[in-house]
């Protein structure tokens, strides 16, 4: 790189780091007119173009990767562009090459696992994620991915084990706490589910979210057919539930404890559906905050 090109690159890089992608790209392109084979300028033009959503971003990054084929960062950038364009298989191949050049890059391995999973190859994805955990047992990104993949593939036991690890590593991770509670319930580990929902009630401090943990506790007691305990919980939940979501649940539990009354009693199926909807809503509310 000539001194002029180097100065332009530094300036363009500073603009990129400041988030001024348009000017960064403009400056990179100006410098490329003089030094068209400069891989750093090509990468920067591509990365800035990618941030701006320009269709030619991948072309610059491909040129950069061709000129600098042993640079794993250039390949990561190219994979990023290909992923942005929805070219999942191409992105996976590119990251794979980057990992060959830098085997210790576990973040790339996690990304590769996600791409393999998106491409419909869960076993391959699981293999990469296990490799990450062998190297870094506390890698939360890999653990989170494993929770999702195991759950999707019906291996709730392993999903639960991974979710528990996340909770152990990041105590304030509400999504992981939700995973633990819901998976315990799904697996019928009801004592553990009870503890997990109690934990969730403490850790989730979003306004009006306490009721979701109560619903989980009630569901646990319903599964255990401990009606009196369910009644106590339903009463407590009704007290804090300003949106009235627990009324039917309470009516059902009251009917189990005291017998039918003149109020129509919802069916067990209705109650189960309502509690399942409550679980889904709780998960959705937290996931949608994920940005």
């Amino acid at each position: 790189m000539t001194r002029t090109a180097s100065a332009s690159f530094e300036q363009a890089l500073a603009l990129y780091n400041d988030g001024d992608y348009a000017r960064s790209r403009e400056l990179s392109l100006e410098a490329l007119a003089v030094n068209p084979q400069d891989p750093n300028l090509l990468r920067l033009a591509g990365k800035a173009g990618l941030e701006l959503g320009l269709p030619d971003a991948a072309e610059y990054l491909e040129q950069a990767a061709d000129l600098d084929p042993e640079n794993p960062d250039a390949l990561r950038d190219l994979a990023d562009a290909r992923l942005a364009a929805g070219r999942v298989d191409d992105a996976a191949r590119t990251i794979h090459r980057a990992i060959e050049l830098r085997p210790e890059d576990v973040a790339s391995l996690v990304d590769l696992a996600h791409l393999e999973y998106a491409a419909g190859r869960p076993e391959t994805a699981l293999g990469y994620l296990q490799t990450v955990l062998e190297r870094e047992p506390d890698n939360v990104a890999a653990l989170k991915a494993l929770v999702g993949v195991y759950r999707d593939t019906g291996d709730a036991d392993r999903a639960l084990a991974c979710a528990r690890k996340i909770v152990a590593y990041t105590l304030s991770d509400v999504e992981a706490a939700i995973d633990v509670a819901h998976l315990c319930l799904a697996l019928g580990r009801l004592d553990e589910a009870h503890d997990a929902f109690v934990y969730l009630r403490n850790v989730d401090d979003e306004p009006d979210h306490e009721v979701y943990a109560y619903h989980g506790l009630i569901e646990t007691e319903l599964q255990r057919e401990r009606w009196r305990a369910a009644l106590d919980l339903a009463i407590d939940a009704t007290r804090i539930d300003r949106y009235g979501r627990t009324t039917d649940v309470l009516a059902f539990v009251v009917a189990q404890v005291f017998g039918a009354s003149d109020r129509p009693t919802p069916s067990r199926r209705d109650v189960d559906d309502a509690l399942a909807a409550s679980r889904a809503e709780h998960r959705r509310l937290h996931a949608s905050l994920g940005l």
Binding site: D138, G148, D173, D208, G244, A287, L289, G290
Partner: protein
């Protein structure tokens, strides 16, 4: 918190790069999601945005100056539940890094100044206490002082109960503040984001001149569970989403995040041009409107009825696209429904911004059904009237395009006050202090047509008709035979030459040979020429002159000595 977990620093320094879409469950690469403005690239689910991210997406870079630094919440009741309110506030402040759940200050979008207020859902669920109410009120007052548009971005679970009735009073405090903006003719755009509920949706958030939201946002007064519990019924899918509200007439626009900034910028640009004079009108090349009935060809009235109803005849939205620029359609009556039989919105005619409102038909059976064959329900007229009030507020000339067989004669329409809706529209049109040009472009079916045709200038296309009743209806009632419709069409004197002589029409817009459908472009050029010619006359008049002359125009009809009469058809033919 989850927002932390998504980007949580892993112990070894790595970050979680993937997030799971709560809608489609796909893993989404975090960078990709962010570049996609927080919209899932797989299923288009709009993630909730942190307030700062929202401002970055919407505002010109560096344009926002936060003036809310000194606004702090108060604890007027010394409230405590499981923990004191003061402690909850401290925790929220620590978590968000903000003093309160809203910020405000001057900003710009596309170089157009606005005063912005934005709520932060992360601060105690976006609840509105005294601090938030103070921010919104100050923003409205600043907009008033600076005579600039107000943009409020809402995200709230409702009033903050820890402040008791003081919180409730924020509904009144904020509503009266935006009420002053309305009185002063200042634009107020309300962007309702996911979720907007309770005391916020029932006050300033739904009082905007324009109510805008994003796909999938949940907006309502009571939560869906409360409603289900109360009415003991399952609610429909999508209940209280932005799309649901749009369909029920309660939002002007549902704009995807990708186009939201552009849309807001265009609206601001249109408003910046509002109040322009005749100098903004474009040059026109169409045939001039005809004011001498003798120049019109004496086509058989029944033939004209057929041409006016021709399935290929250009409809309102087609004329709008050919005559105007930058049309921004607005939806809903704000009361009950979005009636597709009437369309309307802001548009540019040269550099003059106008409000266009018109009946809308379709060409295919499917389109016709979607538009109810151009027969509006009361909600259509209430939408049209709402848009015309909007125009009057901002000094925008009104152009109406009339093409309806009549108002919809249905059970629901009667239950919801069809007569009242039409009457209200007629009366208020007569009093709007802005120029109004009305053109019958196809069928002018009775009161349903007149509800959009009380103009300073009323014109009709050469092959359209305007009548107190359809020829078929008249034939059945008076001639006791539906087959006499052609005779009724002639007897009713419903075509251009007769209506010009009766002074019902001020001028006639010429059509291409064979009718407008033979050459829609030429028809649109003539229509544009007629609108421009009419507005050129009207834009120099004062509001008092406009209203006074409009009064005299309609006062004339049927007044002895003033109302022209026609010779019987046979004599006229001779």
């Amino acid at each position: 918190m989850a927002s932390e977990t998504a980007t949580a620093a892993k112990r070894s320094g790595e970050t979680v790069q993937w997030t799971r879409c709560p809608s489609c469950e796909a893993f989404v690469y975090h960078k990709r999601l962010k570049r996609n403005l927080g919209v899932c690239p797989e299923c288009n689910f709009h993630f909730r945005l942190p307030i700062r991210e929202r401002l970055v997406q919407l505002l010109d870079e560096g344009s926002f100056v936060d003036l809310s630094q000194d606004v702090q919440p108060i604890d007027p009741l010394g409230f405590a539940d499981s923990k004191p309110y003061a402690q909850r506030l401290e925790e929220a402040q620590r978590k968000t890094g903000a003093g309160e759940g809203a910020i405000y200050g001057p900003a710009a979008i596309g170089g157009r100044p606005v005063v912005l207020a934005a709520m932060d859902f992360a601060f105690i669920g976006g609840s509105m206490g005294s601090g938030v109410g103070e921010v919104i009120t100050r923003a409205a007052e600043l907009a008033l002082e600076r005579r600039e548009p107000l943009l409020v971005i809402s995200a709230s679970g409702g009033a903050r109960m820890q402040e008791g009735c003081v919180s409730l009073m924020q509904l009144a405090k904020t509503s009266q503040a935006v009420g002053r903006l309305h009185e002063e003719g200042l634009l107020y755009i309300s962007l309702l984001t996911d979720p907007t509920y309770g005391g916020v949706s029932a006050s300033f958030a739904t009082l905007g001149d324009l109510l805008v939201s994003e796909p999938g946002s949940y907006i309502g007064f009571a939560g869906p569970k409360v409603i289900e519990q109360t009415i003991r019924q399952k609610l429909p899918d999508g209940f209280q989403t932005a799309g649901f509200l749009l369909d029920h007439g309660q939002l002007d626009l549902v704009e995807p995040r990708e186009t939201l900034r552009v849309s807001l910028r265009k609206i601001l640009e249109l408003h910046a041009l509002a109040g322009g004079g005749a100098a903004g009108l474009p040059e026109v090349e169409g045939e001039p409107p005809i004011t001498d009935a003798g120049q019109l060809t004496g086509r058989d009235p029944w033939e004209i009825v057929q041409l006016a109803r021709h399935v290929e005849r250009p409809n309102t939205l087609e004329y709008v696209s050919l005559v105007f620029d930058d049309f921004r359609e607005l939806f809903g009556d704000r009361l009950f429904d979005q009636d597709a039989a009437i369309v309307g919105g802001l548009a540019k005619l040269g550099d003059l911004v106008v409000m266009v409102v018109g009946h809308q038909k379709g060409h295919t059976t499917q389109e016709m059904m979607e538009r109810n064959f151009g027969m509006p329900n009361p909600e259509g007229y209430r939408k049209g009237l709402r848009l015309m009030r909007y125009a009057a507020k901002f000094g925008l000339p009104i152009v109406t395009l009339v093409d309806t067989p009549g108002a919809y004669p249905g059970l629901g329409a009667e239950e919801r006050g069809q007569s009242i809706a039409i009457a209200q529209s007629i009366m208020e049109m007569s009093r709007f202090r802005v120029p109004i040009v009305s053109i019958v472009t196809g069928e002018g079916g009775s009161g349903g047509a007149l509800a959009l045709a009380v103009g300073d200038r009323v014109l009709m296309m050469e092959n359209s008709y305007y009548s107190v009743i359809s020829p078929e209806g008249c034939s059945t009632i008076l001639f006791k035979d539906a087959a006499q419709a052609p005779r009724a069409a002639a007897a009713l004197r419903m075509t251009a030459p007769d209506l010009l002589r009766l002074r019902i029409m001020d001028a006639i817009v010429p059509e291409p040979d064979g009718g407008a459908h033979q050459d829609p472009l030429a028809a649109a050029q003539n229509l544009k020429t007629a609108i421009v010619t009419s507005l050129r006359d009207l834009l120099d008049k004062t509001p008092d002159e406009l209203v006074g002359e409009r009064y005299e125009r309609f006062r004339l009809f049927g007044t002895p000595g003033l109302q022209p009469t026609l010779p019987p058809p046979e004599e006229a033919d001779a």
